[in-house]
């Protein structure tokens, strides 16, 4: 289900981004941001959701929320550097870009990968099957 949804999203988002590229105005910009920010999470879902998303549901939802909310907020705050509030030494839109879009996903994504690696990305059983196949293929292909 998650894989199908990811494929459907990717299939619709790619041409929709092309349409946005030849359109103008706030709606086209907003759509472009929404599509671009969800694209990485859709690719990850396609890759990891062979048996559902398992423990990756929360970090992937977190990634989508950070990127989507950050992107849209920056768009809404466009042109308000002088009158808007400041946070962490920058006007708020720039601080969302730096602290939110850059530093926000850094530990979330990397830790999610490392902490779920042994039971979700490459479990012992998969590794054992791979090693068995590799031993069998040594004479045929390489190594």
């Amino acid at each position: 289900m998650a894989r199908r949804s990811a494929l459907l999203f990717l299939g619709l988002a790619s041409p929709a981004m092309l349409i946005c590229s030849w359109s103008s105005g706030f709606i086209a910009e907003l759509c472009f941001i929404l599509l671009v920010m969800a694209f990485p999470a859709a690719l990850i879902t396609l890759a990891v959701a062979r048996h559902g998303l398992g423990p990756l549901k929360v970090p992937l939802a977190g990634l989508i929320i950070i990127l989507e909310v950050g992107g849209v907020t920056m768009l809404v705050l466009r042109g308000q550097v002088l009158e808007g509030p400041w946070f962490g030494a920058f006007p708020v839109a720039a601080s969302i870009q730096i602290y939110g879009l850059w530093l926000g996903p850094l530990l979330l994504v990397a830790l999610a990968y490392g902490l779920t690696f042994d039971r979700w990305e490459l479990p012992e059983e998969d590794l054992r099957r791979f090693n068995a196949r590799r031993s069998g293929s040594d004479g045929d292909n390489k190594e």
């Binding site: 590229s21 850094l106 690696f117």
Partner: protein, 508 residues
Amino acid sequence: MISPVNPIVVGSAVIYLALVTAVGIWAAGRTNSAKDFFIAGQNIGWIVTAFATMSAAFSGFVFMGGPGLMYSVGVASLFICIPVGFTSGLLCWVVGKRLRLLAGLKEIYTVPDIILCRYRSRRASGLAAVAVIIGTIGYLGAQLQALGILIEMVFGTRALLGELSLPAAMILGSVVVVFYATAGGMVAGVYTDVFQGLLMVVAAVLIFFYALRSGGGLEAMSRSIISSEAFGPNHLDPFGTLPVMTAVGFFFVFAVGLLGQPHMLHKFFMLKDPRTLKWMPLVIGLTQSACVLIWLGIGLAVPALVAQGRMAALANPDRAAPQFLLEFTPGILAGLVFAGVLAAIMSTADSFLNIGSAAIVRDLPKALGRQVRDELLWGRIAVVGLAVFSAVFAYFYKDLIALIGTFAFGTFAAALAPAVAIGLNWSRVGATAATASIATGMVVNLGLEFLSKQTIWEWLPSAPLKMGVLPAAVSLAASFTVLLALTWLSPASHKPDLDPDVDFVMNL
């Protein structure tokens, strides 16, 4: 303005160049086969691989092009580098494990090898090799241009040689990088990458804090920039100086397009043990983020110093980083950072020399049904040819380093990312869809880039794009569209005939 030659900076540069030359000589004795030359014998540990991946990805583009672009367009330029927060995870999840496992079962040295293995199509693999060669010329050209600018500033050759200074400096830098790339191949490449990666991280962190101090702190720099006439408030607005389509297009190309970058994908083939992928995203993400501090630090400090009247406005934005280092940092720190920047440039250049030569002597002949007899020898010859061609291209293309880099990154992204990233995760994608996607990405990107830059033939139309839309973003989206549409349009009963090993790995 050309700053006087600083003996400490010159000394650091000379020591650095001597060290990497020594690594090349050491590695030459350990390079005995094509497997050693192209994938370091598939015997590399995860720390080395992580640093090699990071330092190959980060280059003159980040260390010199980045601050230059930030000087020109402000924080909008950060959309190129902020995806590093999640791209290492994206890379490992989407392609990393499958690339490494496939390289353990089949003889895979290159991205076109992967395409050939996955799709069993010499046409798709040959097109991928052409894309790799074109992108390599652009990327390598950007590195050699950055190397030339850096060397001429360090050694002060402009005062001596005038207009000949840049080509002379490009030749000097190219000779060193070509030497260790031809002698030691990927063995030299990955070990110099570790040394270079460490140097890059230390240099970037130190210079970030020094830049903050020079400019009076982050907030003082921000306020100087927005209140100056030269830069103004838009400089610190993420969508202030560039159209949304350009800024977010950068984000799209540099986040998703990463999945088609051969210099990064290539590193997964070398990894000794697939289990060590576990902490690679953390190490790559943290070290890349540390390196991006130089983009942010110098990128803010230089416009702030110009706004404060403490530095002259720059005629060439690409000189932001070296000019700052020469004018505002103590000799010893400038020396360390110059060595770090040299490291960043050379580590990427040597990766591309290796990848490009593999495309010329392995992938293209394979796609044409031929095999080069002595791949090691011809690989070394191809390295020299590529370096010369790329340097000439960059010298005459005459664009900012970051923009040449964007073109090259975009070429790889549009041509290779969909076929690799979707193809390794969806068994229904067939050779026809992959071939069409690679051709679309390459032709659209080259075509749009050519039409938007060329001024020779006046009768040719300009690129049919709205202002601010990136050719690379359009071509990447088009390439995904073609791959997915053709796959869906193919009859469900027509499932591609997968290699059993590929099928096995795709189902793990």
